[in-house]
């Protein structure tokens, strides 16, 4: 028997649940299928950074719109998800890096972000725990953090309150385009018909795009992360070094969380994201240099996640170029958490209004019809050998 709905979302990560939320809020019928549990993959295990400075220049309109959603979580979904406007300190170790910071800051300011330039003296005054190796920094006060373990399930609950239907442990095994839209078959043998499909299946999304003749060189990887035991709370902003060796934040209960590059390939088939112990050790050494007072503190656990990466290090967001009614939103290259709600909003606008006011041309899947330039970030943020590492 075939049931019908208007939109089917494949993948219950942050993007999928926010798309469901905005569609349901506008009274649209929406069904979300999640092969595992809502928010259990990279949406639930990422670092939790809502970073605005240092983003890809084309991403600012989307990014700022998304931050606006994060800033209103209690009004929108009835839960703050530990959102905290902590600010973000971007750190440079040498003059080359300091120049990069200046260039990033110029881009951020052109989008009306308030960015402060800090020299060694002002770093010492404002953030006395930062080590001497950091010679310059920029501070962005609007940057924030939120708890990734809570955000996706909480948004899913709010979407359901507006009428979205979500089914967990239900893989979409086959998606067929028909003249009336789509037929989606599930692992449990049900068939759903719908007018629109959103492919927000994270690291598993490229397989779906491929079925519609849109083959992109996505691969799965994740950053090594660790968390320390709780120590007295004093490191308020997120601290990030521009070389990516340290992305750290302390949560008010005291634990310090660290993510750092290079990233490691994940095993999609086995659903595993190993953390090589050597990377943990490298992260420990790097963190003690940036925040020397943490040297005596203990690491209690490591983890990683399964994220989709693309060689140009920006996501695919937008309509399919082969199949009307199909929308892709995947390949967030490790920076999807901050823009996730905004992407969900734009997807809902495409479906309801046929367009979105946010410029997203740079993220179209069509760019992969020609050879894509490999991003500098891609070269520096992965193990030697890139995707094969």
């Amino acid at each position: 028997m075939t049931s019908s709905t208007e939109t089917i979302i494949i993948g219950g990560g942050l993007v999928g649940v926010w798309a469901a939320y905005f569609l349901a809020r506008r009274g649209r019928k929406v069904l979300l299928l999640e092969k595992g549990f809502i928010g259990a993959q990279s949406s639930g295990v990422n670092f939790g950074n809502l970073r605005l400075q240092g983003r890809h220049p084309d991403q600012y309109p989307l990014s700022l719109r998304s931050q606006g959603i994060w800033e209103q979580l209690p009004e929108l979904i009835g839960d703050s998800c530990e959102y905290d406007r902590t600010g973000h300190l971007y750190c440079a170790f040498n003059s080359d890096e300091a120049e990069k910071l200046t260039a990033y800051a110029a881009v951020s300011r052109s989008h009306d972000l308030q960015i402060e330039n800090l020299d060694r003296v002002s770093i010492k005054q404002r953030f006395p725990y930062i080590g001497k190796k950091v010679i310059a920094a920029t501070f962005s006060a609007r940057d924030a953090v939120a708890n990734p373990r809570l955000a996706t399930p909480a948004t899913a609950r709010a979407a359901q309150a507006y009428g979205a239907v979500m089914i967990e442990n239900c893989e979409a095994t086959q998606i067929e385009a028909s003249d009336k839209g789509f037929e989606v078959h599930t692992q449990h043998g049900e068939t759903w018909s719908c007018l629109y499909v959103i492919n927000s299946a994270g690291a598993w999304a490229a397989n779906i795009a491929k079925q519609f003749g849109e083959d992109v060189p996505a691969f799965a990887a994740g950053p090594p992360q660790f968390v320390t035991e709780p120590v007295p709370y004093r490191i308020v902003p997120s601290i990030q070094t521009i070389d990516g060796s340290v992305i750290a934040r302390q949560i008010p209960r005291g634990n310090v969380i660290l993510a750092g590059y290079p990233r490691t390939a994940s095993d999609l088939a086995a659903n595993r994201a190993p953390v090589p112990p050597r990377k943990t050790v490298a992260g420990m050494a790097a963190l003690s240099e940036v925040i020397p007072s943490l040297r005596s503190c203990h690491v209690i656990r490591v983890w990683s996640g399964i994220e989709a990466y693309l060689p140009d290090m920006i996501p695919i967001i937008g309509p399919s170029e082969t199949t009307p009614g199909l929308f892709h939103a995947f390949g967030f290259c490790g920076h999807g958490y901050q823009i996730g709600p905004g992407v969900g909003l734009c997807l809902s606008e495409w479906i309801c209004d046929g367009q979105t006011p946010t410029p997203l041309e740079a993220f179209g899947i069509g760019r992969y019809r020609t050879t894509i330039a490999v991003s500098e970030k891609f070269k520096s943020e992965f193990d030697a050998g890139g995707a094969n590492a």
Partner: protein, 455 residues
């Protein structure tokens, strides 16, 4: 020459090291503790004088024999005490010793990581003066200290009478022994007890000796609370007939049997299976303890079997490893040891059934009880989270949402309680409930250790 690494210098690891050494190889024996013996056969800290013979009672001879045999080979093995294995990647162990991180490559790994107490929290269980039964024993064996002057032992464990006897022999007053299982439960476990009647009789003789010396014994009790302001003042419980009882004491030993410490086996790639009967996820292994290619598990860290089984399974794993490496083979002894290990573990399984954890635990537990002491997560918080949609009744998801099991001990202490609460909430099997996955570092490691070496 192949490198065989043994993790854990308790009876299983010590016997494995001895067996490999006698075959002409030089095993690396890694142990977290400064002195060999594990938990059960621990030797006192230096400068502490304890009458070990009196303390070990009927086990004294085995204890002495084990340490004597180990002493005869220790100079011909690569023994590394005070060393923690915190991560494993392929055939590389990452260790921490004296604040230095190092790596060890191995061809074959024998994990003899021992067991820890299984604890079910009750209100007040985090008060100073409350210990696990195993912890109580260790403070005696290692430091010659009792946990209090007047002690109550509470739970369901064959250790209850044993520890009581050890404390009594050293002059500590045992205010009561409170067993949450009834006497009937023990009788029904008898069929499998006949596998090792000697051990069972020894257990009964502890009880008899306690009874004779008028220690109050309660069967079929239900926990209410441990109370006190800054430390334990007493314990409140319901007797088998349902009467509330308050007993004053300054120490409480809590324990509901043992559970294997399986984190290292997990990191080494062992496959885990639910044992619905025991309520534990256990590593899959063959009768030699082989849990993977060049991976062997021995002792209570593999399956609870007690000290005798640990010694035998340590020898057995070593023999199997030597034989598969083509170094040495003694098929006859291997078969004999397989039989011994099987018999002793079957007996322990019966014992575990006789001392089953309290059935009503998850249902009756007060909301304000701390479940995860590392993260200070209360039973009520877990119940509230479970009641929400998108909290799937699965250990790792509930951990992610509530933080229960996320702290320093990685759920070693709270996992049995969390598991019981999820199973009760969803009315499902252990298999459906899942298990907390082991993650490096299996015990906390300081950032400063990274600065002193580049592995």
């Amino acid at each position: 020459m192949p490198t065989i690494v043994i993790i854990g210098a308790g009876p299983a690891g010590m016997r494995a090291a001895e067996t490999i050494s006698r075959a002409g190889l030089v095993p690396i024996l890694i142990d977290e503790a400064p002195r060999a013996g594990g938990q059960g056969y621990r030797t006192p800290a230096s400068g502490i004088s304890i009458d070990t013979h009196k303390l070990m009672g009927s086990q004294s001879k085995k204890y002495q024999q084990l340490h004597h045999d180990f002493l005869s080979i220790v100079s011909s093995i690569d023994y590394r005490p005070e060393t923690l294995v915190w991560a494993i990647e392929n055939n590389t162990l990452f260790t921490l010793s004296h604040n230095t991180i190092a790596t060890i490559q191995f061809d074959c790994l024998i994990v003899a990581s021992g067991a820890t107490d299984r604890v079910y929290p009750m209100p007040g269980w985090t008060l100073p003066g409350v210990f696990t039964l195993g912890g109580m024993q260790l403070s005696l064996k290692d430091q010659g200290c009792a946990i209090g002057k007047k002690v109550v032992l509470f739970g369901s464990s064959p250790l209850l009478p044993l520890v009581a006897l050890q404390y009594k022999n050293l002059g500590v007053e045992i205010a009561a022994i409170c067993d949450t299982t009834g006497f009937a439960g023990k009788i029904s476990a008898l069929p499998s007890m006949v596998f090792s009647p000697g051990t069972f009789l020894r257990g009964l003789s502890y009880l008899a000796s306690l009874t004779l010396s008028r220690t109050p014994l309660f069967f079929g009790v239900k926990p209410l609370s441990i109370e006190g302001d800054h430390r334990v003042r007493g314990i409140r419980f319901l007797t088998g007939s349902g009467q509330e009882k308050w007993i004053e004491c300054d120490g409480v030993g809590l324990g509901y049997g043992l559970k294997p410490e399986t984190q290292i086996a997990d990191l080494a790639g062992a496959v885990f299976e639910p044992d619905e009967d025991l309520g534990l996820w256990l590593p899959r292994m063959d009768q030699d303890g082989r849990a993977g290619k060049n991976l062997y598990l021995a002792g209570d860290g593999a399956a609870i079997g007690g000290a005798d089984a640990a010694e035998a399974s340590g020898k057995l794993a070593a023999l199997a490893a030597l034989s598969s490496l083509g170094v040495y083979c003694d098929a006859k002894q291997q078969t004999r040891l397989q039989n011994t290990v099987r018999r002793l573990r079957a007996f322990q399984r019966g014992l575990a059934r006789a001392f089953a954890p309290p059935q009503q635990f998850a249902e009756t537990l007060a909301d304000e009880t701390v479940i995860c002491r590392c993260e200070a997560i209360h039973a009520g918080t877990i119940r509230k989270a479970l009641a929400l949609s998108h909290t799937p009744p699965e250990m790792n998801r509930v951990k992610a949402i509530t933080r229960c099991g996320m702290g320093r001990c990685q759920g070693r202490m709270c996992a049995p309680a969390l598991q019981a609460m999820i199973i009760h909430h969803a009315n499902q099997s252990l298999a459906q409930t899942g298990r907390l996955r082991g993650q490096a570092p299996i015990k906390p490691i300081p950032l400063s250790a990274a600065g002193e070496t580049a592995p």
